[in-house]
């Protein structure tokens, strides 16, 4: 499912002394099945943008098309948008509210008006996707679970709606490295399996480098940069000037090059760096 944004503006508190232009003429196209990373420092407009994509916020001006359908039009039903576009908020576990894990995940599907059998099947499937044991946890209170498990219950609640566009706003914030790796792995494998469109908002350049096809960089309500991870992480100066960084490994390769070691600069992972350095060492021996 594709996403197309045309001349999107969002102004908070218009006409008041607190008027802020949170989105300033955004134009963007995300293809069906694409996995994009959205980065930018706090206040750059990332969350405002993602909240437009499932109709939580209305644009001050501009259009948003999901699979060709204009979701900013007046006669669109919000439920139809939410069926297609699932948004996992920051710290989604703060929104858990039901007495059992089962009921909490069921909340979205029930609102979609699905049959009871279909709801049961979807809950089981969603819990499988985030690796929560169904039998063991379905009747437990979500509030008794560990932080990482709570987070996964919240994500399962969105996955159970089977959205074709999945937006995750910092899904790993506050998790430990193991919890982070597990959740990212699950998002990735779901994407590979069903080819959904994924928009991942993250402050971790390492995670972004590892996962996404394309990066969108936001700054002051505008799109500052966009391109593949390799292209974007080459722009160190631009990224640093807007309060962002690059993965440590990418930075290392850049520094090595500045020290006259001839290596590729557009390295994103430790494996690539290792290969490149080994190649360089072998080349030297033969020279």
């Amino acid at each position: 499912m594709s996403v197309k944004i045309e001349n999107l503006f969002h102004i908070y508190n218009p006409g008041s002394p607190f008027e802020t232009k949170a989105l300033d003429d955004i134009n963007l196209e995300i293809k069906a099945g694409e996995f994009v990373g959205l980065i930018g420092h706090t206040g750059s407009g990332k969350s405002t943008l993602t909240q437009h994509l499932n109709g939580l916020l209305k644009p001050s001006k501009g259009k948003i098309y999901i699979n060709g359908e204009d979701i900013t039009s007046k006669d669109i039903k919000l439920r139809d948008i939410r069926k297609k576009v699932g948004l996992v908020f920051q710290y989604p576990e703060h929104q858990l509210f039901e007495e059992t894990v089962y009921k909490d995940i069921a909340f979205g599907p029930i609102n979609l008006g699905l049959s009871e059998d279909e709801i049961a099947a979807r809950i089981r499937e969603a819990m499988d996707l985030v690796k929560l044991p169904f039998e063991e946890l379905k009747d437990r209170s979500p509030f008794e679970l560990s932080g990482g498990q709570k987070r996964r219950v919240a994500i399962a609640g969105v996955l159970a709606m089977k959205p074709e566009v999945l937006i995750l706003d910092e899904p790993t914030a506050g998790l430990d490295p193991r919890g982070r790796d597990e959740i990212l792995e699950q998002i990735k494998s779901l994407h590979q399996k069903v080819q959904n469109t994924v928009i991942l908002v993250s402050h971790s350049m390492e995670d972004i480098a590892r996962l996404v096809d394309r990066i969108i960089v936001m700054h002051k309500g505008k799109i500052a940069l966009t391109g593949t991870s390799r292209e974007v992480f080459k722009e160190v100066e631009t990224l640093e000037s807007i309060g962002l960084g690059i993965p440590q490994i990418t930075y290392l390769m850049k520094m090595l090059k500045e020290n006259n070691i001839q290596l590729r600069e557009d390295i994103l992972t430790i494996e690539e760096a290792k290969e490149e350095i080994m190649k360089w060492l072998r080349g030297r021996k033969n020279a």
């Binding site: 193991r178 490994i249 430790i270 290792k274 350095i277």
Partner: protein
């Protein structure tokens, strides 16, 4: 006396769902005055429970915790301990109590019964140490996460603590907010001699400490300088923890037979060592 914190044989148990949970299992360690210690470990390893023992928010089921020699079990020391050892938590929004920055910073000293003229002086001083003077009349909710967290730190500094315990202070911040907070913590440690205990999931922050303590299932499983700890790449990975990317790269190059020291922690060190291979 040069000991800020002494933890001796501390066990902490609680009941969850009628099950007995041992969150801390006979832990002992010490923190010297002026030291910068990082505690790492995955969620549920006991880090935060440990931190809460250090200013008497929790009391040990067994064993003793002493803060500047004061045992946290002795109720008469409670307020002295809280004044000496201040705490900063993960979520800045949960720690800010006032609607104006300077009032928030004044909250602690007001409760200590400090006289108004001195409160003003302390607020000025604290805000300048976290580099937030120009925001003194602003409303905290309009600040960024990094700025809010620095206000929370200023609120602690205004109590004139000798030690600050930070429980994942940067977990909710963006990269620039994280840098601001780390810079502030380092400055307090280096220039003011305040003892720092920083609990974190970010290994690049742990690298900045004098000493790293690694916890797992209520036990201390590794302890040493960042170099000593992070050179144990396999062990840390087993524990589900990260190592800095350059350290991991070094480890992989070494196992491929490249001659490198195994305690590389920063990009600069890595560049230097690779250049040596030229």
């Amino acid at each position: 006396m040069d000991k800020m914190i002494q933890v001796e044989n501390v066990t902490f148990e609680y009941t969850n769902n009628e099950k007995q949970v041992i969150a801390l299992n006979k832990i002992s360690f010490e923190v010297k005055k002026g030291e910068f210690v990082a505690i790492i470990g995955h969620n549920g390893s006991g880090k935060s429970t440990m931190a809460k023992h250090l200013n008497a928010l929790l009391l040990p089921s067994e064993g003793d915790v002493r803060v500047q020699g004061m045992n946290t079990k002795e109720e008469e020391y409670l307020w002295d301990i809280r004044q000496v050892a201040g705490m900063v938590f993960q979520n800045p929004d949960n720690q800010i109590v006032a609607t104006i920055v300077e009032e928030d910073v004044a909250f602690g000293p007001e409760n200590l019964g400090v006289k108004p003229s001195e409160i003003i002086e302390r607020v000025n001083n604290s805000l300048s140490q976290v580099d937030m003077e120009e925001y003194r009349h602003k409303a905290p909710h309009l600040l960024s996460g990094g700025q809010k967290q620095r206000i929370a730190i200023a609120g602690v500094i205004a109590m004139k603590p000798h030690c600050i315990i930070l429980d994942e202070p940067t977990a909710m911040l963006d990269p620039s907010g994280r840098r601001e907070v780390m810079k502030t913590i380092k400055k307090l440690n280096e220039e003011e001699g305040i003892t720092i205990i920083n609990i974190t999931h970010f290994m690049e922050e742990a690298v900045e400490a004098d000493r790293v303590i690694v916890m797992e299932e209520g036990n201390i499983v590794l302890e040493g300088t960042p170099r000593e700890v992070f050179s144990q790449v396999e062990k840390l990975k087993e524990l589900g923890l990260d190592v800095p990317q350059v350290t991991e790269l070094t480890h992989q190059l070494k196992s491929a037979g490249i001659d490198l020291p195994d305690d590389i922690l920063t990009v600069d060190e890595m560049v230097m060592n690779i250049c040596r291979l030229k």
